[in-house]
């Protein structure tokens, strides 16, 4: 079958990135973790850094991402990935080090670690997957949950007097001196995916040129815990969610401060 296709299409226009393992993932249908994974793998290949990359996996739905991304990996306790990545990067400054974290992981329990990693200008790259909920534990409220959003622990909808407002991480980290690059992207349309790739490439480039800390926030989906069909989940990102969390580049340093 495969060979026949080759005959019909002499030039491969689509193939699996080398850094993405050929296995079935555990992600739910319509979950955008998979898209972010692919972008990550493609970018690792594009910069040809697979052999010198150490990834730091989060605790969240992406906890098993080392089963999909084919590089050296360390597991981190919930929220501590930026601290673990700091330990790795300081030990091997010439390696490429990234973390991949959910919104519970990065914006709740790990707020301190991410802010201080950014503030130290830690030369690491962070992929931040904001799906406005705690996917793995069954859809509880996250700091990024939208006002009015019903979750397992905000059954009447998030209310600012009780739970405060959804936290805007890309903007917040852009205010920190040590941050070299901070952007928010989405992956709900092909055009958005193209921009997301561009942002991840920029973020990689920052680390490779030693400009400093880089973060890309992905507005992701969690159809399972949102109680939505995949297409409706995508629409929610395109409408309500990106209305509150605007897409864009919030900070882009041209060169390292210390240069």
């Amino acid at each position: 079958m495969k060979d026949k296709r080759r005959e019909t299409f002499p030039r491969a226009v689509f193939s699996r990135p080398r850094s993405l393992l050929d296995v079935r993932s555990h992600y739910c249908p319509g979950c955008h973790h998979g898209i972010a994974h692919r972008i990550l793998a493609e970018t690792i290949d594009r910069f040809d850094v697979r052999g010198k990359t150490v990834g730091v996996a989060p605790v969240g739905c992406a906890v098993l991402m080392y089963d999909y991304i084919d590089v050296d990996f360390a597991e981190a306790p919930h929220g501590r990935a930026p601290a673990v990545a700091t330990g790795v990067k300081r030990a091997h400054p010439d390696r490429f080090v990234f973390t991949y974290q959910g919104d519970g992981d990065l914006a709740a329990i790990g707020t301190s670690e991410i802010i201080h990693a950014a503030n130290r200008g830690e030369n690491i790259t962070v992929l931040f997957i904001n799906n406005t909920t705690y996917g793995m534990t069954g859809g509880q409220m996250a700091p990024t949950t939208m006002l009015g959003q019903k979750t397992a622990t905000s059954p009447y909808g998030r209310e600012f007097r009780n739970d405060g407002y959804p936290i805007k991480v890309a903007e917040l980290l852009a205010t920190i001196e040590g941050t070299a690059y901070s952007a928010r992207v989405a992956t709900s349309t092909p055009a958005q995916i193209r921009k997301a790739k561009e942002a991840v490439r920029k973020a990689f480039d920052m680390q490779i040129r030693e400009v400093g800390f880089s973060l890309v926030e992905f507005l992701s989906t969690c159809p399972t815990n949102w109680g939505m069909k995949p297409l409706d989940a995508q629409k929610r990102v395109l409408g309500e969610i990106s209305g509150y969390f605007p897409l864009g580049v919030y900070k882009e340093r041209k060169q390292a401060d210390f240069v």
Binding site: V71, H92, H116
Partner: protein, 361 residues
Amino acid sequence: MTLAASGISRELMKGNEAICVGAIAAGCRFYYGYPITPQNDIPEYMAAHLPPIGGMFLQAESEVATINFLLGASASGKRVMTSSSGPGISLMQEGLSYMAGMELPAVIVNISRSGPGLGGIAPSQGDYFQAVKGGGHGGYRMPVLAPHSVQEMYSLTMRAFDLSDKYRNPAMILGDAVIGQMKEPFVPTPYLPTVSAEKPWALTGCAGRERRIVKSLYLKDDEIEVHNWKLHRKYTTMQKEEVLYESYCMDGARVVIVAFGTAARVSKTAIQVARREGIPVGMLRPVTLFPFPSREVNEAAGVADAILVIEMNTGQMLEDVRMSTRHHDKIRFLGKPCAIPTPEEILQEIRRLAGEIGAGR
């Protein structure tokens, strides 16, 4: 060979500084920490001495971050150390549990202070349980070394690095404010490695080899059970092979003190006076608190008439002494939570016990 002939001169230093000298001698070039009394000499020493020799000192934003810096550095194959005290060590417990589960070596120094809570900065041995029983979740152990002199602060730190590498497990130095702040001469004997420096599991990027994953998550079938038994076997081997203790004046001892760290140090003074008075008293000093010298305690308890456990807490190692022997009727306890027992207090207790069992004088 005499000291002079060996070319090694004595150093006069605080215990906390001797730890740093031992760590650097053992090849530790990565230190991470967060300020807390009474261990600040350690990060301050490392901040001054590591960068000039190409090492890395970094002050973390918390002890939670600290232990995860260690986790990352250790996973990268580096010898790495931190130090803290009570509340800071508590914050590290999650990370320590992960490191035990991930089988990552590192040296953690606890210059313990009194507690619970913010407690105080007085010397204490109140962290014994936390140190030796696996203070974090899930059930694990680590070698715990209890120095009672500046010399041992130096040499046991080197040993802690070897033990942690040998077993791929965190190891702890459990000191206290007295040992940490005390200045006395010590001999910086050369570091003689007892383990290979190879770390064929370290994360360095997978160029030219199979990729590596360092993790503690095991979801398939009985994987986690198998992993738990594997870890358990390491702890059993430690119990067989790594017990360290000192027998002090044990010849004909009918009263045997069991004490560690500062409590043992003070006990030595009291024992000397008591021996001059003709009281047959000695001491069995656990140097490793885990693994605990249970066999030696049991042997001593079989021969002696009384076992006097002395701790700067309300009785923690006491439980391990009880577990070691069935001679519970011989066991007495002198506890000074959050204070140093004076030689006089100990001497009084020795005399009282000697009278009780009709020994000496």
